[in-house]
C-alpha cells in the first residue's frame, strides 16, 4: 500500500510576521520558510506506518513555486521514498490543491492520504475535507491516534473534537488529517540527508494533470490585529466603578 502525504511550505512557525506596507499580504521576503508543522506530523505518521510494515512506500507531494523543493528535500531527509513537485508560481487555495491531489491520486493510487489538519499561514482547515469529498473517500480529521488493520483494510482514528475524543473506523482508502498530539516528528539525520540527495523528485504542472486553476477567492486586505492597550491601575474602588460606568460602559 502506498501512502501519499501532502506537505506545504509556509513561513516558519517561530518567526514574527509583519504585514506588508501596502496591506496586500504578509512579508515573505528574507523570511525563514519551513514545512508546515502539521504536515511534519502527518509525514511522521506515514513514516511510522511504513516502518511498521503496513505500507510499502511514502510519497511526499507539494505544490508551488521552485523554492518548494527545499521543503520537499526536508521531507525526503525525514524518510519519504520519493516526491512529486507540482510547479505553479502563484497562490493555490484549498480547492485547487484538492483538485490537483485528486489527479495525482488517480495516477499513483495510494491506499491512504495524510495531510496536516491546517496550514499555519491561512488556517483554512479545508484541503483534507475537500479531497475526501472529491474522491468520495472516508475522512478522519484532527487525528490524535491512528491504528491500521491490514486484514480488515480499516483505519481506527481517534479524533480530537470539542467535546473530547471521538473514535471512528474508516475503510481504506481514506483521508486522514493530523492534529498536534498525533506524534513528535523526527529530526533529519545526516545519513538520511545524504540518502535524500539521490531520491527522485518528479516535476509536474497543473496542465500535465489536466487541472484548471481558477480561484473564486481574492485576498482584498491584510491588516494587523489592533494593538493591546496597556492596563490602567486604579487607586480606589470608586475610581474603578467610575471607569466601568463611564469609560468601559459595562455597568
Amino acid at each position: 500500500m502506498k501512502i501519499m502525504v501532502a506537505i506545504k511550505r509556509v513561513i516558519d512557525y517561530a518567526v514574527k510576521i509583519r504585514v506588508k506596507p501596502d496591506k496586500s499580504g504578509v512579508e515573505t521576503n528574507n523570511v525563514k520558510m519551513s514545512m508546515n508543522p502539521f504536515c511534519e506530523i502527518a509525514l511522521e505518521e506515514a513514516l511510522r506506518i511504513k516502518e511498521s510494515g503496513l505500507a510499502s512506500e511514502v510519497i511526499a507531494v507539494s505544490m508551488g513555486p521552485t523554492q518548494v523543493v527545499d521543503t520537499i528535500r526536508t521531507g525526503l531527509a525525514m524518510g519519504a521514498d520519493r516526491a512529486i513537485h507540482v510547479d505553479y508560481p502563484g497562490t493555490l487555495y484549498p480547492l485547487s490543491v484538492a483538485k490537483i491531489l485528486k489527479a495525482l491520486v488517480e495516477i499513483e493510487k495510494p491506499g491512504l492520504i495524510f495531510l496536516g489538519k491546517q496550514a499555519i499561514d491561512d488556517d483554512c482547515n479545508q484541503t483534507g475535507q475537500m479531497i475526501a469529498g472529491l474522491l468520495k473517500w472516508p475522512q478522519g480529521t484532527f487525528a490524535s491516534k491512528v491504528v491500521l488493520d491490514k486484514e480488515k483494510q480499516t483505519a481506527v482514528v481517534d479524533r480530537e473534537v470539542d467535546g473530547g475524543l471521538e473514535t471512528l473506523c474508516l475503510d481504506l482508502p481514506a483521508v486522514i488529517t493530523a492534529d498536534l498530539r498525533l506524534n513528535q516528528p523526527r529530526y533529519a539525520t545526516l545519513p538520511n540527508i545524504m540518502k535524500a540527495k539521490s531520491k527522485v523528485i518528479k516535476k509536474l504542472t497543473p496542465e500535465d494533470l489536466k487541472v484548471e486553476i481558477k480561484s473564486d477567492i481574492e485576498v482584498v486586505k491584510v491588516t494587523e490585529p489592533p494593538k493591546r492597550k496597556a492596563g490602567v491601575l486604579v487607586s480606589s474602588v470608586d475610581e474603578l466603578i467610575d471607569k466601568l460606568k463611564n469609560e468601559a460602559r459595562v455597568v
Partner: protein, 559 residues
C-alpha cells in the same frame, strides 16, 4: 622588604579612619602559607578576613571568613535615610525577599543582609554610595543574581544594592552595519534580545541565564556565553559605560563611538572587575545585525580527538559563518535526557532516545563526546555549504552521526539541551562546578584524570565552549561531601595551573575562587592589581571609609 612596604601602606591608610584604629585586625589567617597569601595579609583595604567556617554553604576548604569589625552595623537612622531617599518601594526589609537576595542561584552561598535597596536611577545609586561611604557601611552590588561563584550575594550583612529597577532602554541607533544600544544596567538580557529582534539585530552575547541576568552584571563580570566565538568578548562589544564609584562619584564613560583613543580606556578595567571598582549603571553596546539564515547541527563524534579535528575543520571551511561551537560528553547527554525538564512535551524524552538513542548505544565508547554547533549566515548557499561540510565530515569519519535542524523550533530544542545542562545538574543533587580555560588538546585529559581520581563516588560531567577553549567541568554527587571535595581541590587547580590554563574562564572569581587567583596569575600581577585597587580608592576625595566589599580577592557584582 615586602612587609615593610605593606606596613607603610597600612600606616598611611589607617590615618584615614576617624577612629585612627590600625588595621592589624585585618590580617588573614589562611590555613596554608602560600607566600603570596601572606602578602595579602597586609592588604590595606578592609575586606573580610577569614576565621570560622560558615556552615555547609562554604566549601572552599582552606579559607574561612570573618567580618571586619571596622564596618558599621545598619541602624534605624540609616533605614529612615534610605526611605527618604528612595521612597518606601526602594527599601526592602521583607524576610522572604531578603532571603532570595541573600542566596545565590546555586544555593551554595548565603549572606545575612537585613537591607535591600533598589535605586531607580544613577543619581540614587550615587547618593546611596555617598551615604554608605560616610557611615562606613559595607555594600554589595547585585544584578540578576545568576552568578555561579558567590559574587552576587553578601558574605555577611552588607547592604544589597540591586539595580534591577533601572531597566530602561535609553536609545538604539542603527548605524550603517551594526547597531548601538544604550540601556541601563538593570535590563534583563532576554528583554534586550527581543527588543533588538524587532529591529533586526542581536546581542553580541547569549547565555543560558538570559531570562534573569542583567546587562550591568554581564558587563561587570565580562560574561562569555555562547556567541563569543563569533562576536568576541564584551571588551570588544562594549563601547562605553557609566559607573558610580565608592564615594558616589559618577564616572560618565558612556560613549557610543567605535573609536576613541583619548587616554587610558578605563572602561576595560570595569568590564570584568566584578563590581570591585564601582557599580555599572549604564551600558552602551555594539549590536551585530541579525542574519536571515541560521542553522544548527547536533553531531556525535566517536572521541574527543575527532571533536578537536572537527572544530579545526569547521573553522577552516566555515570560518565566516560559524557562530558557536559547543560540546558535551555522553555523561552530560544522559544527565540531560534523564531529568524530565527536557520533556516539555510528553514525548520529549522518547524523542531524544528514539532519534539519538539507537545511534549512541550502537557506538560503544565510554566517553562519547558530542558536538553541537551553530551557524549564522544568509542565503541558501549557506545551506549548501553547511550540508556539504557535514556530509564530508561524516564520510571522512570525523562525525559518527548527527542531525540538522529543519526549522526554528528544532533549533531551539537543540539549544535547550545545551543551555539546560546547568539546571539539570542542579536537579541531580549536589554539584561542584569548575570553569576552566585549557589548551584544546589537553582539555579532555583533565576530565578523564578527574574520573580516575574521583572514582565511583561521583559523576564527572563535562561540557563547554569548545570553540573558545573553555571547559565546564562539573562533578555531580548525591550530596555535598568534603571527601569528594578533597579529591577535587586542589587537584583541579594545580592541573590547570600546570598547563597554564585559567581557573576561571568566564565565571569570575567571586567568593569561591578569590583565594585561588595565584593559580592563574603571577604574584607580581596580583600585587599590581592590589596596588591599583588601593590607588583608585586612595585618590578618591572623601573616601573616609572604604565601603565596597571589594578587592580583587573578595568581591561583588555578578550577572
Amino acid at each position: 622588604m615586602e612587609k615593610w612596604r605593606a606596613a607603610d601602606r597600612l600606616l598611611k591608610f589607617s590615618s584615614r579612619f576617624a577612629s585612627g584604629t590600625k588595621l592589624t585586625c585585618t590580617i588573614i589567617n589562611y590555613d596554608h602559607t602560600h607566600p603570596l597569601v601572606s602578602e595579602c595579609c597586609f592588604f590595606p583595604i578592609p575586606f573580610y578576613c577569614c576565621k570560622s567556617k560558615q556552615g555547609k554553604y562554604f566549601y572552599s576548604v582552606a579559607t574561612t571568613v570573618h567580618r571586619n569589625p571596622l564596618f558599621s552595623i545598619i541602624s534605624p537612622d540609616d533605614i529612615s535615610y534610605f526611605k527618604t531617599l528612595l521612597g518606601e518601594r526602594g527599601v526592602v526589609q521583607d524576610a522572604l525577599a531578603l532571603d532570595a537576595a541573600n542566596t545565590d542561584w546555586m544555593g551554595k552561598y548565603r549572606g545575612s543582609s537585613k537591607l535591600l535597596l533598589q535605586p531607580k536611577n544613577t543619581e540614587e545609586v550615587s547618593q546611596i554610595l555617598k551615604y554608605c561611604n560616610s557611615r562606613c557601611l559595607a555594600v554589595v552590588p547585585q544584578g540578576g543574581n545568576t552568578g555561579l561563584v558567590g559574587g552576587s550575594v553578601p558574605v555577611f550583612d552588607e547592604v544589597i544594592i540591586n539595580v534591577g529597577l533601572m531597566r530602561n532602554i535609553l536609545s538604539f541607533d542603527k548605524v550603517i552595519v551594526s547597531g548601538v544600544l544604550v540601556c541601563e544596567a538593570g535590563c534583563i538580557l532576554e528583554n534586550l534580545i527581543s527588543f533588538l529582534d524587532d529591529e533586526g539585530f542581536i546581542m553580541p552575547l547569549d547565555l543560558g541565564a538570559k531570562g534573569s541576568c542583567q546587562i550591568g552584571g554581564n558587563v561587570s563580570t565580562n560574561a562569555g556565553g555562547l556567541r563569543l566565538l563569533r562576536y568576541g568578548s564584551l571588551h570588544g562589544s562594549v563601547l562605553g559605560l557609566e559607573a558610580v564609584l565608592a564615594n558616589g562619584t559618577v564616572l560618565d564613560m558612556l560613549g557610543t563611538l567605535r573609536k576613541d583613543n583619548t587616554g587610558y580606556d578605563l572602561k576595560h578595567l570595569f568590564i570584568g572587575s566584578e563590581g570591585s571598582l564601582g557599580i555599572v549603571t549604564k551600558v552602551s553596546i555594539l549590536t551585530p545585525p541579525k542574519l536571515s539564515s541560521v542553522n544548527i547541527a547536533f553531531l556525535a563524534c566517536e572521541d574527543y580527538t575527532s571533536c578537536q579535528k572537527l572544530l579545526l575543520e569547521a573553522k577552516k571551511k566555515l570560518g565566516g559563518i560559524l557562530s558557536a561551537f559547543e560540546f558535551l560528553d555522553s555523561d552530560a547527554m544522559s544527565l540531560v535526557s534523564s531529568t524530565t525538564f527536557l520533556g516539555t512535551e510528553n514525548h520529549g524524552q522518547e524523542v531524544i532516545k528514539d532519534k539519538h538513542g539507537q545511534d549512541f548505544t550502537s557506538i560503544d565508547l565510554r566517553a562519547l563526546p558530542l558536538e553541537f554547533w551553530y551557524s549564522y549566515a544568509s542565503g541558501s548557499i549557506f545551506m549548501e555549504n553547511l550540508e556539504a561540510f557535514l556530509l564530508h565530515s561524516v564520510e571522512s569519519g570525523l562525525v559518527a552521526n548527527g542531525v540538522l535542524a529543519q526549522d526554528i523550533n528544532q533549533a531551539s530544542s537543540f539549544w535547550h539541551i545545551r543551555e539546560g545542562l546547568p539546571e539539570a545538574l542542579m536537579k541531580a543533587g549536589a554539584v561542584y562546578k569548575y570553569d576552566l580555560s585549557l589548551p584544546l588538546e589537553k582539555m579532555y585529559d583533565l576530565v578523564e584524570e578527574m574520573r580516575v581520581q574521583i572514582g565511583p563516588a561521583a559523576k564527572v560531567v563535562a561540557y563547554g565552549h569548545l570553540g573558545d577553549g573553555n571547559l565546564h567541568l562539573n562533578i555531580s554527587a548525591p550530596a555535598y561531601d568534603d571527601n569528594i571535595l578533597a579529591k577535587i581541590e586542589p587537584f583541579v587547580y594545580e592541573w590547570t595551573s600546570k598547563n597554564r590554563g585559567s581557573i576561571s574562564a568566564e565565571h569570575g572569581l567571586g567568593l569561591m575562587k578569590a583565594a585561588k587567583i595565584h593559580y592563574s596569575k603571577s604574584p607580581e600581577t596580583v600585587r599590581l592589581m592590589i596596588d591599583f585597587d588601593y590607588c583608585v580608592f586612595e585618590l578618591l576625595p572623601d573616601t573616609s571609609c572604604l565601603d565596597d566589599n571589594h578587592s580583587i580577592i573578595c568581591l561583588c557584582l555578578s550577572a
